[in-house]
């Protein structure tokens, strides 16, 4: 039987969830036996591939690039997991939401902020425009499972990944992903 195809992606987050993933340390050798890691910011050069079985998505949806990635990931993944609090609920990434219109935030940071050459970054095709409001992943695409934590610990991630690989999905939410 072919190994499950596994991926991780990173949207508007701090990479802490990915660092916690790496904190699985030597278990990564076992993971490499269990799955093919076909895409990840730490692994691969490829465009997000077709036919992925399990994808962990770190981060909230904060700009137009993130939306595009989320849609591609969803359309090419069998199971999508909101990985960490930013993906689940926007968390710290969403703390700009109460400040309102991102344009006025950008003005303060990039026009009034610098000592010189103040300009709002906007090069087309280079700098993606911010969404009016940072969104949790499930507001943009359907999500199958949620893994809370900021970040989830390595032990929690391992348990979740093992469970997903084994296909014992019903256990995840009730038992294995309990926080704390």
């Amino acid at each position: 039987m072919n190994k499950p195809r596994f991926a991780t992606v990173w949207l508007g987050g701090c990479s802490g969830c990915h660092m916690s993933f790496l904190d699985m340390d030597e278990w990564l050798f076992e993971l490499a036996e269990l799955v093919d890691v076909v895409h990840s910011p730490i692994v691969d050069v490829k465009e997000f591939p077709d036919g992925v079985d399990i994808t962990l998505v770190e981060g909230a949806v904060a700009n137009e690039d993130n939306v595009e990635v989320a849609r591609i990931v969803r359309s090419r993944s069998r199971i999508v997991v909101a990985f960490g609090d930013c993906a689940v609920s926007t968390n710290v990434t969403g703390m700009r939401n109460p400040l309102g219109d991102p344009q006025s935030i950008l003005e303060r940071v990039y026009i009034q902020g610098p000592d010189r050459d103040g300009v709002i970054p906007a090069a087309e095709g280079i700098v993606p425009p911010l969404l009016p409001e940072v969104l949790p992943l499930h507001k943009v695409v359907p999500v199958d499972y949620y893994m809370p934590g900021c970040p989830p610990t390595a032990a929690e991630i391992r348990r979740a990944v093992e469970t997903l690989i084994a296909g014992r999905l019903g256990h995840i939410v009730t038992e294995d992903l309990r926080r704390g």
Binding site: S15, G16, L28, P41, D44, R96, L99, P121
Partner: protein, 479 residues
């Protein structure tokens, strides 16, 4: 006809950083730009938060170096309270920063750069990653993973968690270090030291293969800035700012981090969310801020110090200087400097763990708001990090400025990719291997994903040849 080459993460998927190269009419590289494409707005939404919350909140800037933000923020909090924190708390904060240097530099070397260095810049791109390294060099990969894990364990032992630890607070440290935990860390030190010693030997053995990279990976004169203590010893937690020039002459000495604005300005850019800090004394109004480019991080710290403060790392520093011909001005040597810093960190860590007062129970000072403005700095793995807060009488933030380490290398990173592109690109046909080298030039700086550049691992790339009217002439995808 001029052309613009966009090196872009595939369909902007990992779209946190991009590179554009502009070619002139003869197909030669006229300019290279590095673009950061993510913005989260910490300086804005931190206004209105209590100063006590700031370490935990700003740690979420970055999952790779949360400890740097915890420290810079807690130190700003100390200064706002006007307290001198207990000696054991200073030692524990130093320990935790050493743990972070070990884990972050290990990640950069073993997980991210070793695939290029060991499997080759031109190796099969699908295997040129940590999993490829695990398959090709399992022992080395395992040791690298364990070294990073050791650094993470130091952080967890002192501050409570591996990522986003709650234990570093304004006034000191939340809870003391137990003897049992200390002994557990001590027991793992010999393995860590053996791993880093072997990695250094491996790296210096490889250097001969990388002559061209040493010469053309961002090898240019620039200023170097870092913290140093008054004796000139390598510093990562306290000390003052020291700036040296490309020949090692001291340009600035003894500036308190709180006065960083006297030497550092920030310039905006229309094509990046990353501002460009520059060295103010070299840039007159109307000048290009490039004239004030300086470098921070491992390379700069080794250039500004006179000694690492520990014997084995000092031997390594002497060899480093010999190989670099004095002050190291090639950005390729960032890798080398990183390994020497891991070695130094293990030695400093050993000394701190042997200090009987490290388990002292008094680790936290308490006070209210005694000052309304303060600056705190620490040496993050990637360079000097500054937090500057203004608070009201209740400790609620009214203004925040953060100068991020990677940002300070922004101008130097641009100069580096320009140099690499000019060295390897000859005419409008871009060789495939050049793409990885351009990336590797950025990777040498180990730009922090989330603090600034968001480019962990390799950037998947699409190169587009675009004519002056914006039409795509040719496209090259590297997968």
């Amino acid at each position: 006809m001029s052309e613009v080459v966009v090196i872009d993460p595939v369909t902007r998927i990992e779209g946190h950083a991009k590179i554009t190269l502009a070619l002139d009419g003869d197909g030669r590289v006229a300019d290279a730009r590095f673009h950061v494409t993510e913005f989260r707005g910490f300086e804005e939404f931190c206004r209105g938060r209590p100063v006590w919350e700031m370490p935990s909140l700003t740690a979420r800037t970055c999952g790779i170096c949360p400890v740097s933000h915890l420290l810079a923020s807690a130190k700003t909090g100390d200064a706002i309270m006007g307290v001198t924190i207990p000696p054991a708390a200073v030692k524990l904060r130093r320990l935790v920063n050493l743990g972070q240097i070990i884990q972050s530099h290990s990640l950069s070397f073993f997980h991210l750069s070793a695939p290029d260095l060991l499997l080759g810049m031109d190796a099969d791109p699908t295997a040129r990653n940590i999993f490829g390294l695990m398959a090709a060099e399992p022992e080395l990969a395992r040791r690298g993973i364990r070294l990073r894990s050791f650094g993470q364990s130091v952080i967890e032992a002192i501050a409570g968690r591996k990522v986003h630890s709650p234990g570093i607070v304004p006034g000191g440290i939340a809870s003391p270090l137990s003897e049992e935990t200390r002994d557990g860390l001590r027991a793992r030190l010999p393995e860590a030291q053996a791993t880093i010693t072997d990695a250094l030997t491996l790296f210096t053995g490889l250097l001969d293969r990388f002559h061209r990279e040493v010469r053309a990976f961002g090898s240019f004169p620039s200023l170097h800035m870092g913290l140093a203590n008054p004796a000139g010893t390598w510093e990562h937690y306290d000390g003052h700012l020291r700036v040296v020039d490309a020949g090692g002459a001291v340009v600035v000495e003894g500036i308190a981090p709180a006065d960083y604005r006297t030497i550092i300005g920030e310039a905006g850019r229309h094509d990046s969310y990353l501002k460009s800090p520059y060295f103010k004394p070299l840039v007159d109004d109307g000048d290009d801020p490039d004239a004030g480019a300086y470098r921070v991080g491992p390379l700069a710290r080794l250039n500004v110090c006179t000694t690492m403060g520990v014997p084995t790392a000092d031997d390594a520093l002497a060899e480093f200087r010999e190989r670099a011909g004095g002050t190291a001005n090639s950005s390729f040597f960032y890798h080398y400097a990183r390994l020497i810093e891991i070695l130094a960190a293990t030695e400093h860590l050993a000394a701190l763990l042997d200090d009987p007062s490290i388990t002292d129970s008094r680790v936290r000072a308490h006070a209210g708001i005694n000052h309304v403005h303060a600056v705190g700095a620490s040496e993050a793995p990637r360079g000097t990090l500054f937090h500057e807060y203004t608070v009201d009488d209740h400790g609620i933030l009214t203004d925040v400025n953060m100068i991020i380490a990677t940002g300070q290398n922004n101008l130097a990173m641009n100069a580096t990719i320009l140099q690499i592109a000019r060295e390897w690109i000859d005419g409008p046909t871009i060789p495939e291997g050049v793409l990885n080298r351009v990336e590797a030039g950025i990777r040498a700086f180990d730009p922090c994903l989330s603090c600034s550049t968001h480019a962990l691992g390799r950037l998947p790339m699409v190169v587009e040849l675009v004519d002056a009217a914006g039409a795509t002439i040719d496209q090259f995808r590297r997968d």
